[in-house]
């Protein structure tokens, strides 16, 4: 059924484009301002804060202590993280043992596939992930989830913490696509995130945390 429909549809389309062709101007790449490193940080921070992201600019080695403060303040009980990543290693190194944890959440890892882990995933308080980079023009972080950092980590727990290297903030989405040669190597899922989940479906009143994370916290390592 589908094959015949496919051929009929494509035949109609081929006939249609043979008949007429609309003159289309060549789309020029959009001009953008090339910003300096600090300007990019400021711009990304400003835009993301405007949509209620909590952004902390910290020194590269110095995100663990502020993170601990944030987790304690929110009384987060479980933090999902990915071992064998730079973030994971740093966390493990700086996390106290269970008996001396001092109000810090328990570190949990993504065990097995989502089918087995789903129940726990839906009851985890927070997750921390790395990022591929950031976009200054619109304010967004880029995630390319992989086998170590599954995509549901940045989606299901109510708090998502992301770590962003300041050197990987690009001016625009177009720039990062070209610089990193995205067309040649798109992953299973790539996602841009600008803030916590939100909606304005009731009387256009903005409300946060409708389906995805209620909070997004970004550490920019400068």
């Amino acid at each position: 059924m589908s094959k015949r429909s496919r051929d009929r549809i494509l035949n109609r389309l081929h006939a249609a484009v043979k008949q007429v062709s609309s003159p289309a101007a060549a789309a020029s790449g959009l001009p953008f301002e090339k910003l300096g490193r600090d300007e990019k940080i400021d711009k990304l921070k400003g835009f993301m804060e405007a949509v209620r992201t909590e952004v902390h600019v910290v020194e590269a080695q110095n995100w663990i202590e502020p993170l601990k403060g944030i987790l304690k303040k929110r009384e987060i009980k479980t933090l999902l993280y990915a071992p064998q990543t730079t973030i994971g290693d740093t966390l493990q190194k700086h996390w106290p043992g269970e008996d001396e944890n001092d109000g810090l959440p328990e570190l949990v890892t993504y065990e097995g596939h989502i089918e087995n882990f789903k129940d726990q995933l839906f009851h985890t308080d927070a997750a921390i992930t790395s990022t591929l980079g950031g976009i200054a023009e619109t304010g967004a972080i880029i995630l390319w989830p992989d086998k170590k950092e599954p995509r549901s980590m940045s989606l299901v727990p109510p708090v998502h913490i992301a770590v962003l290297d300041a050197d990987k903030i690009f001016n625009t989405l177009g720039e990062v696509m070209q610089a990193q040669n995205w067309p040649e190597k798109m992953p299973t899922n790539a996602v841009l995130i600008s803030g916590p989940s939100k909606t304005a479906d009731i009387e256009l009143i903005l409300a946060f945390g409708v389906h995805g994370p209620k909070e997004l916290i970004v550490f920019i390592l400068s």
Partner: protein, 476 residues
């Protein structure tokens, strides 16, 4: 596309105009959207450049549409996404049902998709014993109340929070009445989290499909779209075949136009790009991804050089927001899935002029929609074309059921008008007659209708020609 068995547009319009609450809701919301769009596109020249670019990208994609679709199919298949083609909405529904049955699935969660509305998917699945749950907050609200979306982007915008509070209280078990928006939100979150958890299949639309990489782009704020495409083991995406773009680098400008025009945002909370199902070593994401490509009349629209511009549409809804007619009558009055200016040009072409041609008459041709359209669809020009096609007697007319309004009286009247305005002698006689009789024509038939809201012009006793002849012209 139609769920309008007894569609009486005139009656719908007068009913909507009398509904004060509805008019208030729409006036507030549309005014707000217009303002937000202005703020996000402050520089007129830059906006114009961006729109030119959007127009060029979509035109280029339409010129190559069959090849791009073939390329998409090839890339998707290579990446592990299964592609299905549907000529009609019925066929698209069957594809969904077949996939559901193959997995013995009875529970589906849905992200927002206008194509699924076009398919009447929820009703179809319901008849086949499958529970389809809308998860976008606005869609969820209207599904609970058994209604259709009244806006492409904010489907429940015709409801205020009091009405929503009542719907939640009545339809969701153990839910107290509350008008607090945060609380209503929390109720939806709690209810739908369980649905995401339990769902066997997730369904979504597609904002852009990239031929170059076989990537499906989904744009959203709530995270329900990501939920539907991440948590259940099977993901079905449905798209109209016009959603193609050629290259990945075509995405950024269109994305900017889409989010800016739709909600006045620089970017949405999430831009989700899906290129394959879960790979062997990955821990989550659907194991199967299906893409259903729907035609439903679109391939015929492509054959007409003027009307094909309809297919440039990226469904941002900004033409609705800026339309003086839509703002006053709301989305439901149009009686078809796609309301407002875009609906007025799309529905008549898909459904035929007999059934939907009247939609094209609901416009003052004020050009507001054409001025804001992010891909520069000349909507008023296409409206005039559709009006002409309705009354056409030319064998060369192309739209489905063209000429359906053609009638002898109209033809004679216009023939007469043409003669009076092209032959000087008829023109002089005509003016004389109208000068004497014009003000005495009894208001009957169409004139009576026309007169209801308008004042009939007073005809001068002497025509301009006559006056010039009598008085001469200074500085001739």
């Amino acid at each position: 596309m139609a769920n309008n068995i007894e569609f009486d547009f005139t009656q719908n319009v007068s009913r909507a105009l009398k509904d004060k609450q509805l008019r208030k809701n729409f006036k507030f919301a549309m005014g707000n959207f217009i303002l937000k769009r202005q703020q996000i596109f402050p520089d007129k020249n830059e906006t114009e450049r961006l729109r030119e670019s959007g127009n060029a990208i979509k035109k280029r994609a339409l010129n190559k549409l069959p090849r791009l679709l073939e390329q998409l199919e090839e890339k998707c298949t290579r990446n592990g996404i299964q592609v299905h083609w549907a000529e009609t909405t019925a066929e698209a529904n069957q594809h969904v049902l077949r996939i559901m049955k193959a997995h013995r699935a009875t529970r589906l969660v849905k992200g927002k998709s206008m194509v699924s509305e076009e398919m009447g998917l929820n009703e179809f699945l319901d008849q086949n014993g499958i529970e389809a749950t809308e998860t976008d907050l606005g869609e969820f609200i209207i599904q609970l109340n058994n209604e259709k979306p009244s806006h492409i982007i904010v489907p429940a915008i015709h409801k205020n929070k009091k009405q929503i509070a009542q719907i939640f209280h009545k339809m969701i078990p153990d839910t107290p009445y509350t008008e607090d928006v945060e609380a209503l939100n929390a109720i939806a979150r709690k209810t739908l989290r369980q649905k995401f958890f339990d769902a066997q299949v997730g369904l979504s639309g597609v904002n852009m499909a990239v031929a170059e990489t076989g990537t499906l782009c989904l744009v959203e704020n709530e995270g329900n779209g990501r939920m539907c495409t991440t948590v259940p083991p099977v993901h079905i995406a449905v798209m109209g075949l016009e959603k193609m773009v050629e290259k990945l680098t075509d995405v950024p400008p269109l994305l900017r136009l889409l989010t800016g025009s739709a909600t006045g945002q620089l970017i949405t909370t999430y831009v989700n790009m899906i290129t394959s199902p879960r790979k062997n070593d990955e821990k989550d994401g659907p194991k199967e991804v299906h893409l259903i490509i729907l035609d439903n009349g679109r391939s015929e629209i492509l054959a007409d050089p003027e009307l094909r511009q309809t297919l440039q549409c990226i469904r941002c809804g900004t033409c609705l927001n800026h339309c003086p007619v839509y703002t006053r009558i709301g989305g439901h009055a149009y009686g078809f899935v796609y309301p407002g200016p875009i609906g007025k040009i799309l529905n008549p072409q898909v459904e035929g002029l007999k059934k939907a041609g009247i939609l094209a008459t609901a416009s003052s041709l004020c050009e507001a929609c054409a001025e804001v359209c992010p891909v520069k669809i000349p909507i008023p020009q296409l409206l005039r074309r559709l009006r002409n096609e309705s009354y056409s007697s030319e064998p060369s007319c192309t739209v489905k059921e063209c000429g359906c309004q053609h009638n002898l009286i109209d033809s004679l009247v216009w023939k007469g008008w043409e003669m009076i305005n092209t032959h000087p002698r008829f023109n002089a006689i005509g003016h004389k007659i109208m000068g004497v009789m014009g003000s005495k024509i009894p208001p009957l038939g169409p004139l009576k209708l026309w007169n209801r809201y308008r004042i009939l012009p007073k005809f001068a006793r002497k025509s301009l020609h006559q006056l010039v002849e009598e008085q001469g012209v200074e500085n001739e």
